[in-house]
Point group: C2
């Protein structure tokens, strides 16, 4: 996977272990830098209890003059009051100082334990080290993807290229996951970069479009963390002429795909999960309605335990759809599991339970498809199953 993971032109990255985490050799600091001022946009957690870095970064985007994103893992700097805000601002100041840019040109993200003040010394040492190690190569990109990790088992990166007017334009991103494990609940962070030319408004708009189809369509257990952040940086290093409508659409697709691949990678790495579940809801009047049904099924403990048990339990799925605010009756739902028709016209069909159960048991990927008769809107949503291992991991004493 890492072989082709290349940063877009004009971006450099670094990742290293500075000593925030107990294991001093585990990476815990990442830096992404654009060589020239770039446009930056952010989508942040909707949780009203949010980390200090969210509060600091949120004020600085959208912007047409961003230079860097500094990320630490091991401590989320959330529920840390005024001192937390000071610490987050201080982190951006250290980076700005080292790069000779303005503080407000630096964004900051933190992930890890909540309710503990940051220890400044390791970060004070780590930031100049990261600046010295900044590099445009794939190893540096992977290091940066590793520096964001908490309980992730693999770094998560994605990249797409497209040709615009004969020029190769690239979109690349890194993310860390939502496995809700020690030391506390985890956070979803992602930085996506492109060397395509976009203004700040376009960068913001394209990020929101992509997030709605990717990170907003993945869930492990429906708990929006205090620090969730997705950032898009665009520096125009590959091409400076403004893009046509058609080129913008192509770029949007590439950004969507990178975001979807990263979102899915988070679910695939959800600790304790045995199955990767894709939920498609089609035929809705509104996209928001399809999303509500998909999300409700995805977060339903009964559906998730059924899949863990290789049980094509249509009753739990149909009932989960029924308890949403979307107006429907049991007659409106056609359900397929792994491609087999299971339920329609308000009744289960006479399907071969053993074949469907075996197909769940023998494959990591499971498909749940709901067809509604109302309209043309559809959503694809990704989640994991609920296993005993998930509970074991999340029950371990972590505070």
């Amino acid at each position: 996977m890492t072989a082709e993971m290349i940063l877009p032109r004009g971006f450099r990255a670094a990742g290293l272990a500075c000593g925030i985490k107990q294991n001093k050799s585990t990476f815990d600091l990442s830096l992404f830098v654009s060589d020239a001022p770039c446009c930056g946009a952010g989508v942040f957690t909707t949780n009203q209890v949010c980390g200090a870095p969210v509060k600091v970064s949120r004020e600085r985007v959208p912007s047409d003059s961003i230079r860097a994103v500094i990320i630490n893992s091991g401590n989320s700097n959330a529920c840390t009051g005024d001192r937390g805000i000071e610490d987050a601002r201080w982190m951006t100041h250290q980076v700005a100082n080292g790069l000779d840019v303005k503080d407000e040109e630096v964004l900051v993200c933190s992930t890890g334990i909540i309710g503990r003040f940051l220890s400044r010394p390791p970060i004070e040492q780590g930031i100049p080290d990261a600046i010295r190690q900044l590099d445009s190569g794939s190893q540096a990109f992977e290091n940066a993807a590793r520096g964001m990790m908490t309980t992730d088992t693999v770094p998560k990166q994605a990249t797409r290229t497209l040709s615009i007017g004969g020029t190769t334009v690239r979109v690349s991103g890194a993310a860390k996951g939502a496995a809700m494990i020690a030391p506390n609940m985890a956070t979803m962070l992602s930085v996506i970069m492109t060397d395509a030319p976009l203004n700040a408004a376009q960068t913001d708009q394209m990020l929101r479009h992509a997030v709605n189809r990717s990170f907003n369509c993945v869930s492990v257990e429906g708990h929006t963390s205090t620090s969730d952040t997705v950032i898009l940086l665009s520096n125009g290093a590959a091409e400076s002429a403004a893009l046509s409508e058609q080129e913008l659409a192509l770029l949007q697709t590439a950004i969507d795909e990178v975001a979807m691949q990263l979102g899915q990678a988070i679910i695939r790495d959800a600790e304790g999960a045995d199955h990767f579940i894709t939920i498609e809801v089609a035929g809705a009047n509104q996209r928001s309605e399809a999303h509500e049904i998909a999300r409700t099924i995805a977060n339903d403990a009964l559906v998730k335990t059924a899949i863990a048990g290789a049980d094509p339990n249509w009753g739990r799925i149909v009932s989960a759809a029924g308890r949403t605010s979307v107006k429907l009756t049991e007659q409106d739902i056609v359900l397929h599991i792994n491609g087999t028709l299971i339920y329609e016209n308000g009744l289960p069909v006479d399907f071969d339970e053993k074949i469907v159960s075996d197909s769940i048991r023998q494959n990591r990927d499971v498909s749940i498809q709901i067809q509604l008769p109302f309209g043309a809107e559809a959503v694809v949503f990704w989640t994991s199953d609920l296993t005993q291992e998930y509970v074991r991991l999340n029950s371990e004493y972590t505070t």
Copy 2:
């Protein structure tokens, strides 16, 4: 428990095994009868995918002329189309025939596997047997409580008496639980009876008041089933004079208490749970806001696994409150766990984690208290923790 479980005057009950369940000696049919026409009200599942008995009973209440409630377990008669409706009506007809009353004076509830048609022969035999066994004694009441059970491990009954103008008035009820186990997701059913005199509108209003403070404040995993039903019957057999405002208030309290005791008994019997968790949210502007916060905490997989692990994980609780639609910041929340102050002013306090953890580990009951600074509205909510055993039970192949 059963020693003092007495039916209100003018009510009789029966419960027996008629052969719906595979184990032919397990009770699966219950009948509650009022000797004279009584007022009846019902609160039904809000799930749009609902069982045939819900559709049939919902049309018949509120009413001032109800005579009986027939309940079967082992088959929920849900997702059974037109034939299911016919079967539910047929059940009420069999009872009406045996009691020489009208079909619409009989309510029906079913719980058990969904998507299978009822087999009529055992019920056709069981209903006249139940009518023959109708009795006003405590054994008959317990039998009826047993006939509703699916995976419940104990019958659930509650009773309260109050003196109104020198007359003893009684409120008694039975319920079956929400343990979400084989053969499918389970249903919450309850029948509450009183010999106080109420008209149909009062019966309906009192039932809704009680449900809002009891069954609507319990949750195992937030999945409203297809068949949830709570019925209140009032026959005025103890007293025929209309009640004063004050007497109505006393009666409301008694009905609330019976409903709360039954709701809590359901949570205490939730299979696979190690802890019974009481969540109090006080200081809200609106009761609905306190309810939303309490419900979100109660259904949060991360909070539930933390309690299973004896972890006073304030971060997950505060973050769950933050992801509700109730306008608040982390500064607004004061959190106590088992009476110990854990978090206030946006920061965790320096509490003794071991003492709080031990108090969770060593007790089945856990208290989570959230104090807000907004108003005077409060809600108490009850839930269970999320254990590996819960997942094991719910992952077993059940379809």
